[in-house]
């Protein structure tokens, strides 16, 4: 039997299991919330025990979470969590670390320059491109407003 592309897509839609939206969302909520709670623990630790100011403590928390995300990715634990957590492990900064380490390890065999180092930025690259460009936009608008406002 011949399918047109549209018929085939419709067929696929029927056969593929309904994505359990509520289950996915609750898992994402719980895992994401859990990761942020761990972050809050470090934030309190850095502010209270190491008496950092809030800006320093925030940076230190990001660095800590990035380290943990990178380590758990290397140990092959993070992707197992991600299977259940979905966006709950993607959106926290640990997921950014995961997006760097995971392709870097996978493409290591293609060399240290064009494999590992280059593939590190497959996902992180776009995030930095759009994030930093947007920040320059914010800076420019703020600069203009400041000039106009005196």
């Amino acid at each position: 039997m011949q399918y047109t592309k549209q018929e085939y897509l419709k067929y696929l839609e029927q056969k593929s299991p309904n994505s359990p939206l509520w289950k996915d969302t609750i898992f994402a909520f719980l895992f994401g919330g859990g990761i942020c709670t761990i972050g809050q623990f470090f934030l309190n630790l850095y502010q209270n025990t190491f008496s950092m100011d809030s800006e320093m403590a925030r940076t230190a928390v990001s660095i800590t979470m990035i380290f943990l995300g990178a380590l758990l990715t290397g140990l092959d634990i993070y992707c197992k969590l991600a299977k259940y957590a979905g966006a709950g492990t993607l959106v926290p900064i640990t997921g950014f670390a995961n997006a760097i380490v995971s392709p870097a390890i996978e493409f290591k065999k293609e060399g240290l320059v064009l494999g590992l180092a280059s593939k590190m930025f497959v996902i992180a690259g776009p995030v930095l491109v759009y994030g930093i460009t947007a920040s320059a936009g914010v800076g420019l608008i703020y600069f203009i407003i400041k000039q106009l406002g005196g």
Partner: protein, 118 residues
């Protein structure tokens, strides 16, 4: 209370991303880009700091918080360096996170071997 607010706000941000993934077929990479830019815009408008003050790590740990750091940095940069700050402020404020990602990412990738996919 701090922990509770961090938990539910952080969880909520991730839940929004999950709904977007399930409903719109946006890829994870696009979600990350969308969220970081959203954070930068909200940060530039001064709308994200109140959330950070309320939720602490619940607002700073999600990638949206990274966008906010970039925006706050750009504003601070302009305040301190004028026009030059447009280009120096964002990356300077985010330098710790960016450098940690690169250094830890590089070291972990060197040290660990690829796992065989089952």
């Amino acid at each position: 209370m701090q922990y509770l607010n961090a938990f539910w706000v952080g969880g909520l941000i991730c839940a929004i991303a999950q709904i977007l993934i399930d409903k719109t077929k946006l890829t994870p990479a696009r979600i990350l880009v969308l969220f970081v830019v959203t954070g930068t815009v909200l940060g530039g408008l001064g709308l994200y700091e109140p959330i950070v003050n309320f939720a602490g790590a619940g607002a700073t740990v999600p990638i949206v918080g990274f966008g906010n750091v970039l925006a706050q940095g750009a504003i601070k940069g302009v305040d301190e360096q004028g026009f030059l700050g447009i280009l120096t402020g964002g990356a300077r404020a985010a330098a710790g996170g960016i450098t940690a990602s690169i250094v830890f990412g590089f070291l972990m990738a060197l040290f660990f071997k690829p796992k065989i996919k089952s």
